[in-house]
Symmetry: D5
Subunit: 96 residues, 10 copies
């Protein structure tokens, strides 16, 4: 089941640089593991912003929340979720 997620990141200026770097490194590993598992289907950077649009493919709302609230950057993010479904005009088998 697919969800569209917009994530806006805002790291506070007083977070020590090494702490921020460590969180960002964990965020990347966390995201890539979920991408490898197929649950995080797409992630794109939004031009000019510290933000992304992502497509997640999860079992249900609970799993979606578990993934999002587990993001290392979660405390510094504004997240907006939109439930998706297959579009009747789609010709891609996997855009279900």
């Amino acid at each position: 089941m697919l969800f569209h997620v917009r994530m806006d990141v805002n790291i506070p200026r007083d977070l020590p640089a090494d702490e921020a770097a460590e969180i960002i490194a964990r965020e990347k590993a966390y995201s890539q593991a979920l991408q490898a598992s197929g649950k995080w289907r797409h992630i794109w950077r939004i031009a000019g912003e510290y933000a992304n649009f992502s497509i997640l493919d999860v079992r249900d709302n609970a799993e979606l929340h578990e993934i999002l609230s587990g993001l290392p950057l979660f405390p510094f993010m504004r997240i907006e979720v939109t439930p998706l479904l297959r579009h009747p005009s789609s010709i891609r088998e996997d855009d279900r």
Copy 2:
């Protein structure tokens, strides 16, 4: 080059039913031809709304506008475009 597009459709109630049906059929064919060509990479329905999120892969802004303004439903749509780029954490080769 990828663009994120949100399209909200609002067909006026006084459009004759057969005219609306004909436009919607042309819209579907138009979208599927562009999907087949690889230019319209994804299209998803937004749950509960007559709207979609799409990902287009075009040569430049001009081609993007040519495609969007050529949509048979264009006169009845509100369209919002966001330029995308490859996310540094992405592991998908084609999310460039």
Copy 3:
């Protein structure tokens, strides 16, 4: 899987009264059948508005959209969907 849905109804003034009455009657029957089946868990009127908050319990996003887009009043509604999940503090077994 639970979804929170806000529905705002706006029936155009030029819809003939009997046509409006017939749509509203079908809307009520449609809603009550889904309530009886357990898929439409709650519906509350918002005081002072022609609007409701509802809780739907569906298999997935696709079923949610099928139910909402099938509403007889769908063409006259603005709908806003929010995915829900069990709250860690909840003590109700069925608020999953």
Copy 4:
């Protein structure tokens, strides 16, 4: 008498971790006692956000405010209240 309440929590980063944990534990106990009493009818987590939708069943506006302003997390919440009533299409006896 039912009220729909949206609560958005924003715990400031400089609140000591043990103080935050203690407040959150009190919040949970407070909510569960009110759920057990029947006054806090439903609570659902909103997917991807530190927020909930709740349904409260109270005697009047004053009791509603007493409950909400007594929340241990109240100083860190944005709260939005909407008065509800039984929907004419509802078939649930207790959605009054």
Copy 5:
């Protein structure tokens, strides 16, 4: 129990003048009967707008909705309800 209500009126231009006049006359009578009964405690015009702020004193949310949805101008109004309660600094006995 007190509620704050903002009502914005927008009478469509194509409503025949006598029909509009008749609705407005019924609106006035309806409002004054409720004021006389004590349920509609205050009504003030907002300067420069076809709008009012009102204070209603009702038994519960259901009675509030019954009153508001029964307004002859209801189909031409945007209504916004805010539940009130006695302010701890109030010295007026009847601002409960």
Copy 6:
């Protein structure tokens, strides 16, 4: 001359507790003196929020500003003023 005022209070967390308590006590005394004088006609708490709706009865805009800017909590408030006048449907002598 009547004015509708919405006041939203936001006391910063780093204000020392005794300083806050002292300001709140002065605010209450200030408000009650103005209520006793008849200039602050009504004050109601908004359910679930640290906010109030008030009705002030003043000589002119200058007196309104003098009262509002003199509020002990003024530096911590967002204030929104709306000029009112007697509603043609009002039956209360003093809602002028």
Copy 7:
């Protein structure tokens, strides 16, 4: 007593041209009579918009409303009123 007023005009396209012209002519005469009387202190066009900012000098809120609701274009205007007072830094005698 001074008020700042923003007026946005939106004349419906289906208003007959001569009717529109007649209303606009009456609007101009109405405005100029009030300017001559000193009650309508200033009026400026907003560049690029069918809108104006005006300063009115009236006895009270009731007179303000009487003037604004009497505008021949009132049914086609969105009006926003802001109460003003003398600024402590002003050196103009008549900006009271």
Copy 8:
């Protein structure tokens, strides 16, 4: 050439009181010198807010920006500029 300017002031709480007083005094002198020169035509306080509406009469956009960005309170202001011109209904010679 006239411009309408709204200035909202927000002096941070941690600015030392004497520093704030000194900036406010300079602001007043700066404003009054420009009023005396005729460039700052009007300034009015907005009732209930630490804000003003002003009318500036400047040679061009560059001079407008030079004046506004030179305000001693500029770092603590939100400023919104609207270009004005003579209204065709104006009878005041100097509202050009």
Copy 9:
């Protein structure tokens, strides 16, 4: 003197096609004459929208309004004006 202008066009569906075509042709000629004269410095289409960003170089606010309100499409446009000036970092001689 430079101004940034955003123009959003919304041609009503019931405007006869030949009338619309004639207005659009006049709009193009009008714009190109002003471009040739140097007063309309730039015009760009916004991708996916029936809208443009333009830069106008005019003598003053009055000339700006004269040009904009003279647009054949003016009755069908929403226009937003922002005054510009030379940026201190600019190296282009003519971005004054």
Copy 10:
């Protein structure tokens, strides 16, 4: 390929003055190098605000993001990007 960019700068008050000056100097050099290269086609100050409108001419979205995210002031900016294309009415050869 052209993009319209709005940049709003907000330098935090607790950034040491010499650090701020150094960042601003680097920003200016960075911008001017890109202007000299032809990639940053225009930059204009917005009157009364610490903000600019810019036109960038880049190869693709990725280059746009590389330039914007490399701005020395990027951590203190809110940036909004709009993709542009040649307007059919444009007579300037280089507004492609």
